[in-house]
Symmetry: C2
Subunit: 135 residues, 2 copies
Amino acid sequence: MRIGQLAQLVGVETQTIRFYEQQGLLPPPDRQDNGYRVYTEKHGEGLAFIRRCRILGLSLAEIHELQSYQDDPHQPCTAVNALLDDHISHVRSQITALQALEKQLVSLRASCNDDREVEACGILAGISEGNMHQQ
Amino acid sequence: MRIGQLAQLVGVETQTIRFYEQQGLLPPPDRQDNGYRVYTEKHGEGLAFIRRCRILGLSLAEIHELQSYQDDPHQPCTAVNALLDDHISHVRSQITALQALEKQLVSLRASCNDDREVEACGILAGISEGNMHQQ
DNA sequence: TAAAACTATAAAGCTACTATAAGGTCAATA
DNA sequence: TATTGACCTTATAGTAGCTTTATAGTTTTA
């Protein structure tokens, strides 16, 4: 299987595959005589794993960590659980921050309407004067 | 006022100020004979405006856009309102996405506990097999 | 046979800074 | 006076996770 086929199979760009290889997340595949990479099903699974992790918002470093656990299958999986717990709390704090931000933005938006000139714009005035009433 | 004082006043690093100048967000200040930048209150206000926008999550490009409106004070502020509306909907979709992600992560986390070996880890298995039951 | 589609590498670009290097300036101190 | 320390200057590289571009070789298709 060549790189283009693998890319299509998993739904990524070929450059992304090369990038993961370069970052040490995908093992370097064998090469044909012409230098083309040849992939196996294993590579497909590895790549799919990476993509699912990315969809879950894990960083490449975290994925690397997970891979290192996979390579040592008889250790307790405490660290995997901890990694996920950390990530969950990270996501939660992002949500909290964004919700506070949304509130601020909505109240700022309420301070203006389309019928004004920029000079009198409540939004620009609000930002300029720092009336962002963050709590 | 020199760059260090301005930085302390607004609460940013001196490099950040130079960076904004380079990006065209802060007008280049006058220089002393020795080359040191000299700032006025105007610069302080401009910098504070930028920082407040950044706290609101606006990109440098969006800030640039707002500045261009400020330079044209007799236009209707429709575009400002629209920019904010867009940003609000952007923030909202981020929140929605993160909430869905949190759900996925929590359900994945529930599929394992600390008493297993990596080999039997419900989380790794879940990711590997794509049981991420995204809806 | 020639063009289209694929592959390769290397390097730059993206965002919004932050950090580092190497050096010039200035006031106060030993 | 020499030097220390705090400040300033520019230029360059690093961060994350790719994407884009440039340049070139290979394979497939018309």
